[in-house]
Symmetry: none
Subunit: 174 residues, 2 copies
Amino acid sequence: MFISTSEHGVDAKNRVSVPAGYRAVLRNDPHDAIYLFPHFSGAYLEGGGELFIQQYRADIARLGRYDPLGQVMEVAVLGAARRLDFDSTGRITLPKALIEHAGISGKASFVGCGSRFEIWDAEGQATREVEMRQAAAKMMQDPEQVARLGGGQDLAALVGNSPALSDLLKRGDT
Amino acid sequence: MFISTSEHGVDAKNRVSVPAGYRAVLRNDPHDAIYLFPHFSGAYLEGGGELFIQQYRADIARLGRYDPLGQVMEVAVLGAARRLDFDSTGRITLPKALIEHAGISGKASFVGCGSRFEIWDAEGQATREVEMRQAAAKMMQDPEQVARLGGGQDLAALVGNSPALSDLLKRGDT
DNA sequence: TTGTTTCCCATAAAGTCCCATGATATCCCA
DNA sequence: TGGGATATCATGGGACTTTATGGGAAACAA
């Protein structure tokens, strides 16, 4: 699971160290690499491992070849995505197009989001984090939102019913 | 898996370099070649490897010999498709008919779509990409579309239940 | 011949690998 | 529990390899 936020410098060759904790998550993947794409809904990159990109692929494939939503997502996600391999010290080289989309200058901020992570320009990220915390607090005052979120009451049941999920949790590399 | 978008010049001999990442996908194929055909629903080419063309073949075969749809697809896809071999530096030579169908002049844009890719004239592709990203952002604001897309909730369970899919992910050449 | 296609070599730019170094974190033992 | 030894991590720079692309020679067709 990708968690925590950390900043890393982007050098003259556009290289940036991927947080060690994230790399540990990817260690079991077929290739030692991450997938990244410029997100369509904001100036940031979304990324993850093999599972992350295959989820998008599965979602798109499920819609079928002639669905307009699927066609849009194909270009916006798969067409824009890049596979970036690590060098021997755990860095990736960010393509120019991705750097420009996210407006990264000097420092990049990695934000873990569970099964995926986001990369933002470090500059704005600090304030964004505070805003998100405030937004969360506000939403928790709305009973409807609280109800939608649930509150984790049923995870135990979920695990009990799903050998797959149970294995996944035991394996611990998710 | 074919992902990312890149532009490549088409020279006086109609040669064009296939992105290195795409060639890596095809390395396990029986012949080191791609299949391409002028797509019936727009001014672009659709292409892929052995698996890509065999999927079309299987779909058509399933319809049976006397199905009008099958007959149409046979001509429109298999009849129009070409197998193009790579030269020693990873280029293919685009036949005139394909260049004309896609309106390619000078530069061609390869767009990865997972199990297949598209080739567009680079001129229009740049704007198309921006439009698609905007369309995606807009669609994500419509709860109905979001619901249709799903959001990958079930891939993990899917993988857990399917040894075949799990192997596929591990093999990593999809 | 003339035009077309295929193969091979040359080159510049881009990307990747490898080693070095300083900083940080972790471990171990008194 | 403090402090030094060790391992891990982040980052810089140079050497090397791959990739993209241009051009020329050889094979083939009309």
